[in-house]
């Protein structure tokens, strides 16, 4: 198994950082009841790990006895949606955003279905030893910021109505994409990215456990490259290990260097022709399943890094504008391309101004 998966802590006590949060979660679990929870924070900060640890704390190791289920849902328009859910006796985990535009029906169906059956093993969770009567099942929706607005609106009444028999744990990266009514119905829990020191120390412990100890510098280097994403840091550390060269520079991922290549193209020439070429590259990146918003982020990151600081404001503003539009639209390439065109224009203007000044 990969290091990330192998060394993931399973119990709340074993979590490495955010001790305060762990204590609080433990307190919540201790009461035997849950409000609806909304975990948010950047990717690789440990949201899911915490959710699972919390569930384990509440229900005992039984939550890890999971099985996959393939469910089919029928929409009113007679379309069938297939969705895989992962569930134990105590909880069910799913990613309704996989259902695309029809996620609304999935969300409603699943919650209603769960609400109809009170858990038979009423939380006298063997091993939990708490002896508390838990009369609800937990529905864990990951990526809830990717749910359509309709699905989110569909959730809000459902989660109030069936609160007796089911609790929701939502998980997302970007809180601003969750509608206000949902946020207000949940207890928000922020899982911020671990600090550099925390990542560093985790890297050291893990690498020691794997009998390939990292030096302080190597760990620091990986931490820098990981952008405080613990998953990425661990993956990078393992990749370094595979290369048998823990002291070498940490290579950036292929797709990132590819996007850096796009940025240098933008810098080199600003013309419709180059824009066409950039479009082709964009198709490659998107075809590689890089989420388009990540493409935006990376583009802006490299653009701002390379271009003059006076352009930064405009680039950010354009990126924010087009990224927002992209979420409203459906063809991601259009929006990224429009952004690139805008940047080209800005840069060309900038150069023209420079020439005029001289």
């Amino acid at each position: 198994m990969l290091w990330v998966d192998k060394h993931r802590p399973k119990a709340l006590e074993k979590l490495d950082y955010h001790d305060n949060l762990s204590k609080r979660l433990k307190a919540i679990a201790g009461t035997g009841d849950l409000p609806h929870l909304l975990f948010y924070g950047p990717s690789g900060a440990g949201k899911k790990t915490r959710v699972m640890a919390l569930l384990r704390e509440m229900f005992g190791p039984g939550v890890e006895k999971v099985k996959l289920e393939h469910r089919t849902f029928k929409t009113p328009s007679r379309r069938t949606i297939e969705l895989t859910t992962l569930g134990s006796n105590y909880h069910i985990e799913m990613n309704p955003s996989d259902a695309g535009n029809n996620d609304r029906y999935v969300v409603q169906e699943v919650i209603k279905e769960i609400a109809q059956f009170h858990p038979v093993v009423s939380g006298m969770a063997e091993g939990a030893g708490k002896g508390k009567n838990v009369t609800f099942k937990v529905v864990f929706l990951s990526d809830c910021d990717r749910l359509t607005k309709a699905a989110q609106h569909g959730l809000r009444r459902t989660m109030e109505k069936y609160v007796k028999s089911c609790r929701l744990i939502l998980c997302c990266e970007n809180l601003s994409k969750v509608i206000d009514p949902l946020r207000s119905r949940c207890l928000p829990i922020r899982v911020s990215a671990p600090s550099r020191e925390e990542i560093c120390s985790i890297l050291m412990t893990v690498s020691e456990k794997e009998r390939a100890p990292l030096s302080q510098e190597a760990a620091a280097r990986i931490t820098d490259a990981s952008k405080r994403n613990l998953r990425r840091a661990l993956l990078m550390a393992e990749a370094q290990r595979v290369r048998n060269d823990p002291n070498a520079e940490v290579p950036v991922p292929d797709w990132e260097s590819f996007i850096a290549g796009i940025v240098s193209k933008i810098e080199r020439e600003q013309s419709p022709k180059m824009l066409l070429e950039v479009r082709k590259d964009l198709y490659h990146v998107l075809g590689n399943c890089i989420p388009p918003s990540v493409v935006f982020q990376t583009l802006v990151y490299y653009l701002v890094k390379r271009m003059d600081a006076s352009l930064a404001h405009d680039v950010f503003s354009a990126a924010a504008d087009y990224e927002h539009r992209m979420h409203l639209g459906q063809k991601d390439v259009y929006h990224i391309e429009a952004f690139v065109a805008q940047v080209m224009l800005l840069y060309k203007k900038y150069i023209a101004d420079l020439v005029n000044l001289c």
Binding site: L2, T84, V242, K273, Q330, V333, M344, L345
Partner: protein
Amino acid sequence: MDPPSRRVNRRSFKFTNDQPKAVEQVPKAVESAPTGKTLEGTPASIPDGSPVSGQSVVTPLRNMASTPAMTAASPKVAASLDLTGKIFCFATDLDSIPQEEVLRRIETAGGKVGLAISQRTSYLVLGGKMPDGRPAEDSTKYQRFSDLRAKGKVQAEVLREADFLKMLPAVESPSLPSKVKKDVRPSFQSQPSSQESSSRPFNWVDIFAPYKLDQLIGNNAAAQRLTDWLRDWEDVVLHGRKKASSRRENGGAENVNARAVLVSGPPGIGKTTTCRLVAEMHGGYKVLEYNASDARGQKVIQEMAEGIAQNSTVSFSGQGTSKRKAVIIMDEVDGMGAGDKGGNAALIKMIKTTRNPIICICNDQHGQKVRSLASHCYDLKFTRPPKNAVAQRCAEIARQQGLKVDIASLEALAEACGGDVRVVLNQLQIMSSAKSFGGKDQEVMLGPFEACRRLLNTAEAARLSFEDREKLFFVDYSMVGLLVHENYLRSMEKKPATLEVLSRCAYSADLMTVGDIFQQRINAEQEWSLLPHSGVVSCAYPAFVSNGMLGYPSFPAALGKMSSLSKSRRQMMDLQMHLRLSSTVYGQAMISSSYAELLYRRLVEPLKENDIKEAVGRLDAYGLRREHLVEHLTELRQHLGCQDMFKQVDAKVKSALTRELNTGKHAVKVVLPSKRRRLVEEPGFDADGEDAEVVMNDVEESEDEEEKSALIKVKGKMAKKPAGKARGKKAKA
């Protein structure tokens, strides 16, 4: 001014015949004429009515009702509309309505028609041109009228045809039966512009309905036989002089002596028209038509039959009774449906006793409803008219309407419509009206590529109005937008990359993002009303902003990319499903955090060193299978040009790996339903299916490899059994 005209003035109408203006004012005068006395008292009401009467569509009746002052002043208004005591005189025949019809209508309304100008004449109507082409003003009657008026001997008002028609339908319409259309004689020869069309049907089908037998297209023999049958009907049926029946080709005798005839044939070929014409031309009969819009239940027909059996009077016009006998046309007999219970049987009964000829019309004479009827009738089949005959007639009509159509395309149209003249004419009319808003036909013929080329080529686009551009979007609204996006940069490619060119590109791209948002709304919320706007924003305007030189537009890559993108998404979701049991990584982060990349390396690296056991162990740890390594993970990396490391693996090792994985010892943690099974699967088997697909994940991370694989083996069996069972059940079912 001469005395006579002053006398006219006394009635508060200011007109003299010499002034054409005065003639235009006549309709007002006509409206108010019957209530002349009231008007004299309230002269203000004339200007009052004038703006309303300017609208040609509004009939005088409504005009008057809409002027409250007048209705209040004279309760006689409604009654005064009848023409009792009025005497009309026609200088020339009317263009738009047959003269007999006019006579009938005037009589119905209580008016009279005078042959010559006299003192009692109330209105002199100027119709169309005289046969020799001179205007109606040159007619002898008008000349005489002018003379007499100059001498002060007559007071008649002069009416133009249009004005006359305006007052006529208002009188007529309440009592007008639904079959006015047949009475209308087309007047296209003289006045193709249908200014006064308010009183005439708009549809060409109605305007150009044949009013003479020789105008019928095709089926001449059938029409002739119908005429013969009707001519001899009285002799045969009433006087018992049987005709010798001719032999049909197939040997069966024709039932020429039947009391009724059954006309059958496909729709739109003129059955009803022919029957009506034949019946009218015979002259001896009044036509009584019943169609599917009339109630034709048993009771109704029985009553009808009783009336007819006694051969008593049938009232037509509401004015007195007519002594003439009637032809009963039962149209659409196969449409005697649910509401007309027993109507068919009653009809047959009526036929047996009738003393009036009955013509039944249907589409399919072998239809179940009609079959019993058919045996009592003289059978006449109408066939589709030959397409060239239809085309010829249509060409004639098109020519009269100022529409240029070549005969070949008309023939094609006739053929496409199955010889249905009605459909052909409707199509023709639609086309001709479409023509007036600018060459729509041409755009229909355009392909999306051509449309895109026009939009983006400056030379061609410069000639297009903005409206034209938007119309080009509708050539194929799902394609043209994509094509424009694909090609707008290509068209600008050759231009020097100035700031202006670039800003145009940026602007276009910006517009198209908005268009994309529109498109999303249309797709997700079905808000199709946004489509035109989407057309402007995603196609017409961007192409207006940036265009240049474009040879042939290239196919939108977005479509191809979309399928490859969805394929890699599918692979990713597939992988994720397997990894889910042991990993928290979700789809979005799998690639961007290089999780997949590392996993791939970790899986391939032992293979390179021929360490199959290690590789299989790693696959097992995640519950992955060979195809995930070989297909999913490999293909997901390929988009950015990473090399396929699996190819570097020795072929022997590869086959050894495959063999090892096929031994069945290895964990299959997740079984996805295959496409084939999903198709067969019925809802009833869902429970079984789920059991089969689900394998519990072991909780403890077992150190002991053997124990684990044993466990898995058992589970593997468990997994297979129910599936087999389910299949067995299905076979039984």
